[in-house]
């Protein structure tokens, strides 16, 4: 391997520093966006408790929005379908992982134990169609 010149090393170092700076800014921005969203939601949750106690009216725009029936239904539906979608995707990912690993385990264990028996599940870890 050829030795890098000082100028090349300095340029590489500068590039890495630029990467680090952009990474740090992105981290700060992502954190601010993520947690301020939660703070916003919690703030209006708190205001809704105050409204319940009769200390404020729903004149505030945010409280008004949260109190809107259509808005409540839409966010509930998004939450429900989002949760279902997330669960299904996680399940598919788990099965992909099982599929990816099972063939290698089968091959490697087969090399050690030629009479290795099998659970007869499908490569994705599902019940064998014949067993249903």
């Amino acid at each position: 391997m050829t030795k890098k010149s000082r100028a090349a090393l300095e340029a590489e170092n500068k590039l890495l520093r630029k990467y680090k700076v952009s990474e740090s800014i992105a981290n700060v921005m992502n954190t601010v966006i993520k947690w301020s969203a939660l703070v916003w939601i919690v703030k209006y949750g708190y205001l809704s408790i105050l409204a319940l106690a009769g200390q404020i009216t729903k004149a505030d725009l945010g409280v008004n929005l949260l109190a809107n029936e259509a808005f409540a239904k839409v966010v509930a539906v998004i939450f429900a379908f989002g949760g279902i979608g997330y669960g299904l995707n996680e399940r598919r990912l788990r099965k992909n992982t099982v599929e990816g690993l099972s063939s290698r385990v089968q091959e490697l264990e087969g090399m050690v134990d030629e009479s290795r028996s099998s659970s007869q599940l499908t490569p994705r870890g599902d019940t064998h169609p014949k067993d249903i």
Partner: protein, 186 residues
């Protein structure tokens, strides 16, 4: 304040917190999925080398494997925001020696291979790049909400409409023929 408004506020708040939490879970899921896909690609490259097509010690194999390992390790740091910031910070930046860039090394590493093998290796690299782009786009909730979902909805509507028109094509044709015949007989 009416009782039903208070109930709405309660459910809105709970749902919004849930959606916020789903966004965080989605990001974690995207990272897991990206790593899984990258592992699979790395396995494919390993199998390709194991079949004897390329040497495990070849520079091309080393570059692909090292890059895949890097992406797997730092998948949690790949985001749209960072890519944009990094792009603008190094826009006018030049490495002193261009042979240090990944593309230069990659091009050089393919020199010893015949066209077929070079093509296969290039495909692996292309797939790796596509996985990275897919991960960056799909792991970003703002991009998903503002670009991907509207695009998918648009294509779905277009597809549904084109199918609907195809189904109606025969009856429409018959109606048109009848109208034409009536028009001609006037």
């Amino acid at each position: 304040m009416p009782h039903d408004h208070i109930i709405n506020m309660f459910f809105s708040t709970i749902s919004l917190v849930g959606i916020w939490f789903l966004f965080i879970l989605h990001r974690k899921y995207s990272i897991d999925r990206f790593r899984e896909e990258m592992f699979r690609l790395r396995d494919e490259v390993f199998n390709y080398a194991e079949s004897g097509e390329i040497d495990f010690n070849s520079q091309a194999y080393g570059l692909l494997r090292t890059a895949a390992n890097g992406f797997i390790r730092f998948a949690h740091k790949l985001s749209v925001l960072q890519m944009i910031l990094f792009y603008f910070s190094v826009k006018n930046f030049k490495l002193i020696d261009t042979k240090d860039s990944f593309d230069e090394k990659w091009a050089k590493s393919l020199e010893g291979f015949n066209d077929e093998k070079a093509k296969t290796l290039k495909e692996y690299k292309l797939r790796m790049s596509l996985l990275v782009i897919k991960h960056i786009v799909f792991s970003s909730p703002p991009l998903l909400l503002t670009i991907i979902f509207p695009l998918i909805t648009c294509f779905a509507i277009k597809y549904a409409l084109s199918n609907f028109v195809r189904v109606l094509k025969t009856p429409l044709n018959d109606i048109n023929s009848a109208a034409f015949a009536y028009g001609g007989s006037c």
